[in-house]
């Protein structure tokens, strides 16, 4: 009998409530390392909440989340922040980049906050991979939406995360651009050896994933 593959993410009996209202329930979900997964659900189904829980930004009301063998509930707040910086990359829905900094400095800041030494060559390589090396010194306000999207992906990957989370990365894009962004995410995650989890309500990107978790909206 074959041994079960190592789970990068493991969720058991997860419940998240706001007051008396339950907004998310996941009985069990395992994501093997280097396997890309989709969290699919309508608005209000708790997709973003699930990503925030996986990232350790909020705590579950019940249940356990384990990432790379580490249970968040065993970590202090400071340890959780440090773990997040070193092991997770997050692409937010609105692609928010720090407006006061250039593209390159956004990536440098991400390394610095994760407690890593700045790697100028790696940053340049990453920006080159997403086609932004010529814009490295530009401020985010000078970039198009597509360029910001690529920059946000580069920033999420700069600390070589084991787990890359993306929240609605294609929600405001047409078919071609949605396809391109997914291609980019999958390619960069694969290049970096990261496990990718995408949360979306966008059915167009479902064919990119074999593994998926469907969330139902709570009343």
């Amino acid at each position: 009998m074959a041994a079960p593959s190592t789970a990068l993410l493991e969720i058991n009996s997860l419940v998240r409530r706001y007051g008396d209202r339950t907004v998310l329930r996941v009985d069990a979900w395992r994501v093997p390392a280097a396997r890309h997964s989709l969290v699919l659900g309508a608005s209000g189904s708790g997709k973003s909440t699930l990503l925030h829980l996986i990232a350790g930004l909020i705590s579950p009301s019940e249940g356990q989340i384990t990432v790379s063998g580490q249970r968040f509930s065993d970590l202090s707040g400071r340890e959780r922040d440090a773990f997040r910086g070193r092991h997770l990359g997050i692409v937010l829905q609105n692609l928010h980049l720090i407006g006061a900094l250039s593209l390159r400095d956004n990536l440098r800041l991400a390394q610095s906050l994760a407690g890593r030494a700045i790697e100028p060559d790696w940053i340049a390589q990453l920006l080159d991979q997403v086609g932004l090396i010529s814009l490295a010194r530009q401020k985010p306000e000078m970039l198009s939406h597509g360029e910001r999207q690529r920059a946000a992906i580069a920033r999420a990957l700069v600390n070589r995360p084991t787990l890359l989370l993306a929240d609605e990365p294609t929600s405001a894009l047409d078919d071609d651009n949605a396809h391109n962004v997914m291609e980019l995410l999958l390619r960069q995650a694969t290049l970096s050896g990261a496990t990718l989890i995408v949360a979306t309500h966008d059915q167009r990107i479902a064919p990119h994933f074999d593994d998926r978790l469907v969330l139902e909206a709570y009343e």
Binding site: S48, H52, I58, L92, A100, L109, S112, L113, I118
Partner: protein, 422 residues
């Protein structure tokens, strides 16, 4: 990208607000620093000019006016007293020294003081050129006088009647410059010194000839003339109109401070004024103005602190999503706290540096623009210990102003901000 770099980037991003914050704080710090420099120099100068003088005897009137006119040469004299008082108090057991001053004329606004070389000796003045006076109408110029009038050894000038520039000239009695004093940062720098005889003679009062032993040997160089005043003797009265304006006394014993002033004040036409008391009163009067300016400066600093607080609070509101994103990248709440605090302290530190430059720059500018201020010894290169308190106060203002926004940053609810999408 360090937190310092990030803070500087944020400050650059809202450049106008940053500049206004810096300016407000710099103005407050600069004004207080200027005030400190000015007060310190004024007090130092007032103290130095009155140093070693225990009592001033003059005509009845305001004691403060007597001190201002006879020690600092800033006010008009209260009147004259008979020259016989010089001998009377000089022979008193409680008195160590008596220096007579005869005022009445001026040169281009600088006072001509009829006195004895002991007056220059009291301030430790030495000659840069020439010698002290040896005969009537020989004069020694203070350093500022020489510089402003461009007079040198051998030059002649006429005194003007009165103590303000432009009075009628005593054109029949020219003075000859026989000596120049080196700068002493004392009242001497602004005076023309001559003997009492010259002042009397200029006003048509008969003068006795000096005794031979009172003469200073002519022909010596400046080095040889450093202590000529020890041999000087006051002129002998031969005319009832002979009078002096004031007598500068030093006590032989501390007991004199109790006994001498009442004794002087009981004498008809005389009053005694203690420089220490009058100076304290003067400084207290000046202090009211100084306190008002200091209060205004503190208000400016408080306004700067408030402006800093508003600026950082607004920045925090505009930057809530940045902070949330930084948390997703691994920043702890403490990092966000430190970043906001650092931003406030950078502004405060910048304001302090600018304020110090402003205060010291203004001191240099004022000294260069106004001779009266320059003669105080005010300089942009001088520092006073109290400036350290100003620096500490300004940094504390920055710290307090940044503290609340920093605490708010620390408490940012990341999930709520991320969920809000902005």
């Amino acid at each position: 990208m360090s937190l310092l770099g990030l803070s500087l980037a944020y400050l650059r991003m809202r450049l106008l607000g940053t500049c206004l914050n810096l300016l407000l704080l710099a103005l407050g710090v600069g004004m207080i620093v200027l005030l400190l420099l000015f007060s310190a120099k004024l007090e130092e100068r007032l103290t130095r000019d009155a140093s070693g003088l225990d009592l001033v005897i003059g005509a009845k009137g305001s004691p403060l006016q007597l001190i201002l006119s006879s020690i600092y040469h800033l006010d008009i004299p209260t009147g004259n007293i008979p020259f016989s008082e010089v001998q009377r108090w000089r022979s008193h057991d409680l008195v160590e020294t008596v220096i007579p001053l005869a005022l009445g004329d001026s040169l281009g606004g600088f006072r001509i003081v009829g006195t004895e070389p002991a007056y220059a000796g009291h301030y430790g003045a030495s000659l840069s050129e020439g010698r002290f006076w040896d005969a009537p109408f020989e004069a020694v110029l203070g350093s500022d006088v020489a510089e402003r009038t461009n007079l040198g050894i051998g030059d002649r000038f006429f005194g003007n009647h009165g103590l303000a520039p432009g009075g009628p000239a005593h054109s029949d009695h020219p003075y000859e410059v026989v000596g120049l004093l080196i700068p002493s940062a004392s009242v001497l720098d602004r005076l023309v010194l001559t003997d009492v005889d010259s002042v009397w003679a200029a006003h048509g009062i008969e003068v006795a000839k000096r005794h031979d032993e009172s003469k200073i040997e002519p022909g010596g160089d400046a080095d040889q003339q450093q202590e000529p005043y020890a041999r000087a003797v006051a002129p002998q009265p031969v005319d009832d109109r002979q009078a002096v304006t004031a007598l500068l006394l030093s006590y032989r014993t501390p007991l004199a401070a109790v006994q001498l002033p009442p004794l002087v004040n009981q004498t008809k036409g005389l009053q005694a004024a203690a420089p220490a008391l009058e100076m304290a009163r003067l400084l207290s009067m000046i202090g009211i103005g100084v306190d008002a300016i200091r209060g205004f400066s503190l208000l400016l600093m408080a306004t700067a602190g408030l402006s800093l607080f508003i600026g950082l609070t607004n920045a925090l509101q505009a930057r809530r999503y940045d902070l949330a994103v930084m948390r997703t990248m691994g920043a702890s709440p403490s990092i966000l706290f430190v970043q906001l605090l650092l931003e406030g302290m950078l502004l405060a530190g910048g304001g302090v540096v600018l304020g110090l430059l402003l205060g010291h720059g203004a001191a240099s500018l004022l000294a260069a623009s106004f001779t009266s201020i320059e003669t105080l010894g005010l300089s942009g290169f001088a520092w006073v210990a109290e400036e350290a308190y100003v620096v500490a106060l300004a940094l504390a203002v920055g710290l307090v102003a940044a503290l609340i926004p920093a605490i708010q940053a620390y408490r940012t609810d990341i999930a709520a901000v991320l969920a809000s999408g902005r």
